[in-house]
């Protein structure tokens, strides 16, 4: 039953999380920033499911389901905000929205 070690899941999860963080920081387009955020959420899901596989429990998969549901909500609201920003200001880059800087 248990053939994949826990470290393998954690290594994959950590690599994907780091890449997602680099994407959030370094990306310029708003939509691609949101996509990198989805990547980090997926990495957390891999860690939860891997811990579940290791411990033989069911809670990690339930939390992964909650994360998936909240990621769907976050994508809907975030993309709505991006469309609203684009409709108001005609910009789609993160450094062009600087009215609230301070």
């Amino acid at each position: 039953m248990k053939t994949i070690p826990l470290e393998a899941f954690l290594v994959v999860s950590m690599i994907l999380f780091g890449l997602g963080v680099v994407g959030i920081v370094a990306r310029r387009n708003l939509i691609t920033v949101l996509m990198s955020l989805e990547l980090t959420l997926n990495a957390v899901n891999i860690a939860l499911v891997g811990a579940d596989h290791h411990l033989g429990a069911a809670e990690g998969q339930i939390f992964a389901l909650f994360v998936i549901a909240l990621a769907a909500t976050e994508a809907a609201v975030g993309l709505g905000i991006i469309i609203a920003i684009f409709r108001l200001k005609r910009v789609d880059s993160t450094d062009e929205i600087r009215e609230m800087r301070g």
């Binding site: 387009n29 411990l55 339930i62 880059s93």
Partner: protein
């Protein structure tokens, strides 16, 4: 052993797609890379024995959210994004040591940490009943309140997305003659 090989293949695909997500310039290519990464992560879930989470990953992420991203990418004209730079080079280079520090921290934890491996009292039920049944039973008994709260959050998010994303010119207030 075969399961480990399949896990390695899916992990390789996921990591390569993630590199594509953070490096490709064209937003449509980024959406395709994201879709590939999501499907690879669903494959990782299936090899871990979590069929329910894998199926929901395929249904919610790889269908609903990916279609939504494609819709928004087609709604926002990105010819301007192709002309300008697609990355912050300085911030990306500066953020790399932080991520490398995270990786080194993970290595230190693996080398120094103690591996706990409890018996897992639910594993017996998982082998008897199957994974989806056990997850459903625990979800609808122990975490039922959280499940209902998540449904409320989904409803509020849907209403908020509709309110934020609608066009302002379609309000029917000054319609009276």
């Amino acid at each position: 052993m075969g399961r480990l090989v399949i896990f390695g293949l899916f992990s390789l695909l996921a990591v390569l797609s993630a590199v594509g997500i953070i490096t490709l310039r064209n937003p449509v290519y980024v959406v395709v890379a994201l879709l590939s990464s999501l499907i690879a992560v669903a494959g990782i879930f299936f090899t871990a024995g979590a069929e329910l989470v894998g199926a929901l990953q395929l249904l919610i992420y790889a269908v609903a959210i990916a279609v939504f991203y494609i819709f928004v990418v087609s709604a926002v004209p990105w010819e301007k994004a192709k002309k300008t730079e697609s990355h912050y080079r300085f911030e990306g280079i500066v953020s790399l040591p932080v991520v490398l520090f995270l990786y080194v921290e993970m290595l230190v934890v693996f080398l120094l940490g103690v591996k706990a491996s409890p018996k897992g009292e639910i594993r017996r039920f998982i082998e008897e009943l199957g994974n989806a049944e056990v997850v459903g039973a625990v979800l609808f008994s122990k975490y039922f309140l959280a499940f209902e709260v998540v449904s409320l959050v989904l409803l509020i998010g849907m209403i908020g997305a509709v309110l934020i994303g609608r066009k302002e010119s379609q309000t029917y207030e000054d319609d009276t003659p």
